[in-house]
Subunit: 197 residues, 2 copies
Amino acid sequence: MSQPLPDAALDQLFREARSYSSFLDRDVTDAQIHAVWELMKMGPTSANQLPARLVWCKSAEAKARLAGHAGEKNRSKITGAPVCVILAMDIDFHEQLPWLFPHTDARSWFAGDEEGRKVSAMRNSTLQGGYLILAARALGLDCYPMSGFDNAAVDADFFADEPRWRSNFICSIGYGDPASVFARSPRPEFDTFNRLL
Amino acid sequence: MSQPLPDAALDQLFREARSYSSFLDRDVTDAQIHAVWELMKMGPTSANQLPARLVWCKSAEAKARLAGHAGEKNRSKITGAPVCVILAMDIDFHEQLPWLFPHTDARSWFAGDEEGRKVSAMRNSTLQGGYLILAARALGLDCYPMSGFDNAAVDADFFADEPRWRSNFICSIGYGDPASVFARSPRPEFDTFNRLL
């Protein structure tokens, strides 16, 4: 039976972690990128759908291409980061279920129900996005997640060969520059947004 | 600058954590429920929207009510857990932005755009769902997230007084019974679902 993690870990994951709009000039290695995936892939998704598809823009060329589809204020947060990942989803994720969820015929639950797949892909790829952010933090990295970009343009540019992939959000990752954060926005008390029945 | 968390923490959060379909007979206290919120609320959402609204079903009556709207296989996973939380979203979350994101008029970005709010509420409340699962694990608890229930029936039953709240998914929380887990489903290698540009 697990115990609570030490306070220093809770601080690093939640309490003291911040979204950094600019990053120190320090590389994120390919090995670190792989390590983020190795952690985040372990998080639960419905019927082990794992609908997220990730495109890690690390070269200056890839980051510039992505930044061209972002809102003006977000461009420097992409090009100035060591890496910016496009978190996308495969709306035909069910085609992978025979090997991802082998003990039953989960593919048949979704075949012919594209609207249902879109909802499930959105929900479960976003859950994986939450795991991505916390996996990066657990590995000592900082994040700047963004949804201010042209999803259709990113899809057309990056997924021409994968017409069933849809971008969800993007996230710059690196070592945050402490000078780039402002005071934290308010966080509500339990009773504001919770009910206990 | 943060370092990677110790292996034991990464194991507890990701590598060895599992979804438990049944739980040991051990209470989850109100203080633990509050502690989950105190961690998860710190996670980032777009413009600090924090669209998630949580209803923690802890009494036998509340769990039975919720279980009545769930798929047959999920009912015992609700009634048999110490607590099952409904993670919902407020599709009028923008009304809270004047105090949640006080330094600019973010409310105006969403006013009059209900479709855009629905997408944003879904994305950001689900991110908060990812934080919920990992916050619970960080506190030594186990989870069983579920989307197999009648969302409209839950909304009508639990949110009659909050017609702008929509259920997203539900999650049982407690101390998992090791006898209730099977072998882990496959997890893909990096190259299967990732590209590095």
